[in-house]
Structures are given as structure tokens and as C-alpha cells.
């Protein structure tokens, strides 16, 4: 019989489940790298691409050709013009090569001559090539620095336990698991629904990272406590006991977080919806990975048995409740 509470013993099922979720995301990332003109795992927004984005709302209906001719009169030969929202709203998005601030404002004035603009619902963003490159670079550095800092922190806080380093590495493995799931599902949405990633996506990724570690640390903390209090028990027993003792808290907290994020997703502003969706995915993955990845991995390392299929000594078989 498959016993739900034998999480550590049955780790192979949970590892396979993780891989099944990660795999499509990774495939989507590879697919995007091949098919997207930028050759990146996700569709990039103007935050990462040098260029301008005009979002204009006209008060009267205008045609795409009218907009195009305005841009062409400024020497911009191939602007990408798309209509946003309902046709009756007259909202258009135009993406162009990088245009200097002053000239962008001149274009705005020229557009206003085609039909009056709703000034309050009109935005212009422009990013120069150097800024875009630096954003990407800073992002990669931020992720690496955060990971290393957290690795060192866990190592330090487990310094009294045996093989403290293994706990850090497994926590980082769970973290990479969560980042892969969140980033992978974003890549799927990027391929299917044209999601674009912006600077907020990086915020989301780093928050997922925080979530993941926070959850893992609470479980680890209980293992650390039980290791000193229950010296007679086998390692696997202590770990399973710690998992079950913290299960209530893990589920309660993640249910509350899901409540908060769902409220934000359903009722919050449209501009943060994608951000919240990525957080929600990362948060669920974070709770899952702290229980079913980070901790079983530590045991697997101690027993030198990744899938938990080796013959067990009889006293180990009593592990569980």
C-alpha cells in the first residue's frame, strides 16, 4: 500500500512528479530560445530590449495606416503596431527602435494631431541599448549573489549539525527546483499567450527564492531540534517525524499565502496580475519542494540512495508515524 506519510521512503514518486512538472517548462524555454527573434527563454518586454513602446489611447477611431504614417514621417520605417483591448477603446501599442526622449514627445504630439489623445491613458517608455544590457547583467548577478548568500547562511546556521553543507546544497536544489518551475511555466505562458517578462518578473523570481528558502528553513529547523532531542532514533525517523510535525504549519501558511495571492490575482490591478501569478506558482512549488524535495534529498545523501530503493536495515523500516 502506498502510504502518504512515508514521504522520505517514497521519495522516488515525488521526485518523478517534480520532473514531470519541470520538464514541459524547460521544453518551452528551449522552444522559445529557438523560435523567438531575441533567442531568449521568454518573450522580453521593453525593460530588457532597447527600444520604445508607445501606448496611446485615442478619443476617436483611427486606422493602423494613420499611425504608421506618423511614425514614418519621423523616419521610423517599421514600427510594430498592435491594437490593445476592445476596438471601441481605441488603444494602440507601437514598438519601435530606440527614440530619444525629445523626439518621442514630438511623435506623441504628432499622434495627437491624428485624433485627440486621452492624455491620462497614454504612456511612452524608452530604453537605450546600454540600459537594457545592464539590466540583464544585474539580474543574473542578483540571482547568483542571493543563492550564494543563502547557501552560506544555512551552512552557518547548521554549523553544529553533522554535514551542515549537505543541508545548504539540498536547500539550494529545492530553490532551483522552484525557480525552474516558476520560470518554466512562465515560458509556457510566454509561448502560448505572449506573456512578456519585465523587471517585475525578476522581483517575482527573487521572491520565489525567498519563499522557497523560508519554507525549507522551518522544516530544517525542526530537524535540527529533533536531532539533539532524539538521539536514539535513526536519521530517517527523525527527519520523517520533523516533516510531519511541521506539516500543519506548512499547509496552513501556504493556504493563507494562496488566499492573499488569489485575492490579489482576482481583484488587484491588471498591471501586477502576471507578477502575482508567477508568485502563486512559485509559492505552491516552494511549499511542495520544502517537504518533498529538500528534506528527502538530505536523507538520500546521507543514505547514499537517491531513489530510496536499496534494501533497508530492519530498524529503519519502522520509520514513519
Amino acid at each position: 500500500m502506498f502510504d502518504l506519510f512515508r514521504i522520505v521512503e517514497n521519495r522516488r514518486y515525488y521526485f518523478v512528479l517534480s520532473l514531470l512538472v519541470i520538464l514541459p517548462g524547460v521544453l518551452a524555454m528551449i522552444y522559445n530560445v529557438i523560435t523567438l527573434p531575441t533567442h531568449t527563454p521568454w518573450r522580453l518586454s521593453v525593460d530588457f530590449l532597447p527600444g520604445n513602446r508607445f501606448e496611446v489611447k485615442f478619443t476617436q477611431p483611427v486606422s493602423e495606416d494613420q499611425i504608421r504614417s506618423v511614425f514614418q514621417s519621423f523616419g521610423i520605417t517599421n514600427p510594430a503596431i498592435t491594437r490593445l483591448g476592445d476596438p471601441s477603446e481605441n488603444i494602440w501599442q507601437v514598438r519601435t527602435v530606440f527614440i530619444e526622449g525629445e523626439r518621442a514627445q514630438q511623435i506623441r504630439s504628432a499622434l495627437a494631431k491624428v485624433a485627440l489623445l486621452d492624455e491620462n491613458s497614454t504612456q511612452i517608455q524608452s530604453v537605450s541599448p546600454t540600459v537594457a544590457a545592464q539590466v540583464t547583467q544585474a539580474a543574473v548577478i542578483a540571482v547568483i549573489v542571493a543563492t550564494v548568500a543563502i547557501l552560506l547562511f544555512i551552512w552557518w546556521s547548521f554549523r553544529k549539525a553533522e554535514h551542515a553543507f549537505r543541508y545548504s546544497i539540498c536547500a539550494i536544489a529545492a530553490l532551483i527546483h522552484d525557480i525552474l518551475i516558476a520560470a518554466g511555466i512562465t515560458a509556457i505562458f510566454s509561448a502560448l499567450f505572449n506573456w512578456e517578462i519585465d523587471a517585475l518578473f525578476l522581483t517575482a523570481m527573487l521572491t520565489v527564492l525567498g519563499f522557497s528558502i523560508q519554507d525549507t528553513i522551518v522544516v530544517y529547523d525542526r530537524i535540527r531540534e529533533n536531532l539533539t532531542r532524539r538521539r536514539g532514533e535513526s536519521f530517517e525517523t527523525v527527519v520523517t517525524r520533523s516533516l510531519l510535525e511541521t506539516l500543519n504549519r506548512s499547509l496552513t501558511t501556504s493556504l493563507i499565502n494562496i488566499l492573499v495571492l488569489t485575492a490579489l490575482l482576482l481583484f488587484g490591478g491588471a498591471s501586477i496580475k502576471q507578477f502575482v501569478a508567477v508568485l502563486l506558482i512559485g509559492m505552491i512549488s516552494g511549499t511542495y519542494s520544502s517537504i518533498f524535495v529538500a528534506v528527502p534529498l538530505v536523507v538520500a545523501w546521507f543514505e547514499r540512495d537517491l531513489w530510496g530503493t536499496k534494501q533497508r536495515a530492519p530498524k529503519m523500516a519502522v520509520a514513519g508515524k
Binding site: 547562511f153 522581483t203 522551518v218 500543519n248
Partner: protein, 469 residues
């Protein structure tokens, strides 16, 4: 009631009252506003400051554009930043942000600006001021000219600017268009003020910074009776003739009107940017988008809060009810802290705040779970309360430290490239974490002691209903 617990309760009530007073949008008297002495006097209104994405407005990122791609030194960037700040303040925008980003960028955020062209013009105007050797035949005012400094950073007095190169070194013989030799940049000026000479004519009085006085004396003695043009962004403003050898101060006379003298003095004092700047990116945010987002986020926040409290009460009964009090305390003190620091609230900032709410709830969950465990383990009510806090503390501490590490990295990351949104997220989350630590370990603990330690017998009698254990 123990005296200790009583004092703690008084502190909590006092903090609640102060926070509620700060957060509620009632008009506050001036002496209260002036208590926040660390804030800019202009911004002391004790209200939550809204960022660009909520309020709408203009964001401009300026980058240094020194000839030859040279790196500016920190002092130059700082004085450039201050000059722009002075100009922007003249525009009358509420709560502008003028910050240095990285080594060579300045971020300008102008919330609520309606005339965007005017704002961009104003920032652009803070161009490069040069004093140019024009010989005996000065160009007319308003003529665009080429200068050695704008072409390759060439200066007659290279020692006056760390980035300047002597003209002799870089001299080229292209005489197709006349290239004027730049003598000094605007950096040599200490101050410039409009005034009247002895005949009652409008003049501009100026003083030279001490370290440049010797160079200025040498130049004016060599070029006596020749013209020295004042050039802003390669356009001639005025070409006064050098009438005397000058070193520390002097005055420029011409056929100035009072207004003309005033304008020239302004350009001389504020337009003398030590570093030329170009506009690198601009973001222009419509206001109604922001207003709608605020309203929606407030609704979402309220719904989330109610759902959270309901969940806590159903799951933990009486302790859950206590945590509702803690949560209200947490929210009020956090918001009050945002007003006091002050934190400019952006959309990701609101998201960061709501996440810190989740962390605050998690701390309570950790404590209540421990409390139940200790009760099930057979401890008395009073001992269980103390043990729950003691044993939950290491988990709460470690989990929050890891979040703070992430916050610090996000903050640095947001600072380096002008993503103020990312920085806003990190600040509100970090502040929220600190407040949540205090609310869990101080407020929840005091409330738990008040109810469970003081009323242990009453609660014990109705244990199944009140605790669910």
C-alpha cells in the same frame, strides 16, 4: 495581572494610538508635522507618498556623456544631481525624486507632471556651460558653434577639470568650420547674481572658485580686450569683452534688461553642470491607470485581510482571534512607518507589503502550532505559552533572516539600474519583516499571556471550544 505584562499592554496601546493617528487622513497641525525632522521640510505632510506608477508622471534617466566616454568622479555627479534638483524644485512638482543611480546615471521622477515637454526641456536645459576664447571677432548671440571641449574634451586650462585634455595634445588642423578654444567649463564659477553697476545698469556679478582664480587671472591678462563667449550646449549666450585682469570676481555688463541679467545669472549658477548629461530613457505613465490600480489593490488587500482573519479564527479559535488583533496592529504600524521613513509606495511596494503580511501570519501560525503541540504534550496553559514562543523563535528568526538577505540583494539590484519599483518592493518587504517580528514576539506574546496565563482556569474549562485541542 503582572506588572510586566501591564506595561507591555500600555506600550502596545500607545503604539496603536500613535500609528492610527498618523495613518488616518485627518489634517495634522504644523508642530506635529515638524516632528519628522529627518524629512525634507517641503514634504512633511504626514501622508503616504505615492510612486510614479500610482500617481502618473514622468521618469527620466540621465546618463553622463563626457567626451571620449570618460567616467565622471563622484563629486561631479553629486553636484550635477543637486543642480537638477534645484531646477526641478523650481518647477513646483510635489515629491520629485532625483537620485544618483550607479556611477554615472541620475534618475528623475516627477509624479503628477502634466506638461511633459516642459519638464523634459527643463531637464535638458541643464547642459554644458563653457567659456570660450573668441578673439576680437565674437560670434553673434544665439549662434551655434563648435568648441574644443565638446569635440574632444580639449581645454586651454586642463588643470581646471579632471577630465579635460590640453588642447595642444589633441589639436587637429581641420579648418573646414571654425572650432573655438574652450578656456574653462562652468565648473570654475562659485556663484553668479544679478545686480546694478554704479551707473544703474543691469549687470551679472560672479565669483570664481578659489582653486581656479590663478588660472582665470592668467587667462584674463593674456586675452585682455578680447571677447570671452559664454556658451551653453554649444550655443552662444553672450560674448562680453574682457576689460580688466580678473581673478576672484568680476561683473558682466551689456545691454541687459533686468530679466536678461536675471536669466544669465540663473544659467551661470545652475546651468554650470560639471558633467554633460544625455537623456537615456524616459517613461511616461498615465494617471488614471494608477488610480484604478490603487483602488483595486485596496479592495484586494481588504478581501485578503478578511479571508486571512476568518481562516485563523476557524483554525485556531481563541488564539486566532488574538492574531486578528496582532494583524491589525501590524498593518497600522507598518503603514505609519511608511509615512514616517518615508517610503514611496509603488505597485510592487504594495505587493511587498502584502507579502510581509503573509510572513506576519506565518509567525503566528508557527507559534500557535507549537502552543497546541505543547498542550497536547501535557503542559499547563501557562508553561505552554512560554514554551511555544521560545521554541518557535529559532524558526521565525531563521526564516526571516533569509527573507531579509533576499531583500538586501533586491535593494542593491534595484538601485543599480534605476528600477525603483524593485527597490520599493524590497523596502516595504524588509520593513514589514521587522514589524512582523515585533508583532509576533511582543504583541502576540503579551496578548497570549494576558488571556491564557491570567485566565488559565476559565479557558481550561472550555478548552475544546476555545482552543480546539
Amino acid at each position: 495581572m503582572r506588572q510586566n505584562t501591564f506595561i507591555r499592554l500600555l506600550i502596545i496601546l500607545a503604539l496603536l494610538a500613535i500609528s492610527a493617528y498618523i495613518v488616518l487622513p485627518t489634517p495634522k497641525p504644523d508642530f506635529v508635522k515638524n516632528l519628522v525632522f529627518w524629512q525634507e521640510p517641503r514634504g512633511r505632510d504626514l501622508q503616504i507618498k505615492q510612486g510614479l506608477d500610482l500617481k502618473g508622471g514622468l521618469q527620466v534617466l540621465l546618463a553622463s556623456d563626457l567626451p571620449g566616454g570618460a567616467q565622471p568622479i563622484p563629486e561631479q555627479m553629486e553636484s550635477a544631481r543637486r543642480i537638477i534638483e534645484d531646477r526641478v524644485n523650481g518647477l513646483g512638482v510635489a515629491e520629485p525624486i532625483i537620485q544618483q543611480q550607479g556611477d554615472d546615471r541620475i534618475l528623475v521622477e516627477l509624479p503628477g507632471v502634466t506638461d511633459r515637454n516642459l519638464a523634459i526641456d527643463l531637464i535638458k536645459q541643464t547642459g554644458q556651460l563653457e567659456f570660450v576664447d573668441a578673439g576680437f571677432t565674437p560670434p553673434l548671440d544665439g549662434t551655434p558653434i563648435s568648441t574644443t571641449y565638446s569635440l574632444y574634451g580639449g581645454l586651454l586650462f586642463p588643470e581646471t577639470l579632471p577630465t579635460g585634455k590640453p588642447i595642444s595634445e589633441t589639436l587637429n588642423a581641420q579648418a573646414a568650420t571654425k572650432v573655438y578654444n574652450t578656456a574653462f567649463t562652468g565648473e570654475i564659477l562659485q556663484s553668479a547674481t544679478p545686480g546694478l553697476d554704479t551707473l544703474g545698469r543691469n549687470v551679472v556679478n560672479f565669483t570664481i572658485k578659489p582653486q581656479f582664480q590663478e588660472a582665470f587671472r592668467r587667462y584674463t591678462s593674456e586675452k585682455l580686450n578680447q571677447a570671452m563667449c559664454i556658451v551653453l550646449d554649444q550655443r552662444v549666450l553672450s560674448c562680453p569683452t574682457i576689460r580688466a585682469v580678473l581673478s576672484a570676481d568680476g561683473s558682466i555688463s551689456g545691454n541687459f534688461t533686468r530679466e536678461g541679467a536675471n536669466n544669465l545669472a540663473l544659467v551661470l549658477s545652475y546651468g554650470s553642470l560639471p558633467v554633460p548629461l544625455t537623456i537615456e530613457t524616459t517613461r511616461d505613465v498615465g494617471a488614471t491607470l494608477g488610480a484604478d490600480s490603487i483602488r483595486r489593490s485596496l479592495v484586494a488587500g481588504a478581501i485578503a485581510l478578511i479571508a486571512m482573519i476568518a481562516f485563523m479564527v476557524v483554525r485556531y479559535r481563541l488564539p486566532g482571534l488574538l492574531s486578528a488583533v496582532t494583524l491589525v496592529f501590524f498593518m497600522l504600524t507598518s503603514l505609519a512607518l511608511f509615512v514616517l521613513v518615508p517610503v514611496t509606495l509603488t505597485l510592487p511596494g504594495i505587493a511587498g507589503f502584502l507579502l510581509s503580511v503573509a510572513a506576519a501570519v506565518d509567525a503566528n501560525v508557527l507559534i500557535f502550532e507549537r502552543f497546541r503541540e505543547e498542550l497536547r504534550g501535557g503542559r499547563t496553559m501557562r508553561a505552554a505559552v512560554e514554551a511555544a514562543f521560545q521554541r518557535a523563535w529559532t524558526s521565525i528568526r531563521d526564516a526571516n533572516i533569509s527573507t531579509l538577505i533576499t531583500c538586501a540583494i533586491l535593494f542593491v539590484f534595484g538601485n543599480t539600474f534605476g528600477a525603483s519599483a524593485v527597490r520599493g518592493f524590497a523596502i516595504t518587504l524588509a520593513l514589514g519583516i521587522f514589524v512582523s517580528l515585533f508583532s509576533a514576539m511582543f504583541v502576540t506574546r503579551t496578548l497570549m499571556r494576558l488571556t491564557f496565563s491570567e485566565q488559565a482556569e476559565t479557558i481550561e474549562a472550555r478548552r475544546a471550544v476555545l482552543l480546539g485541542v
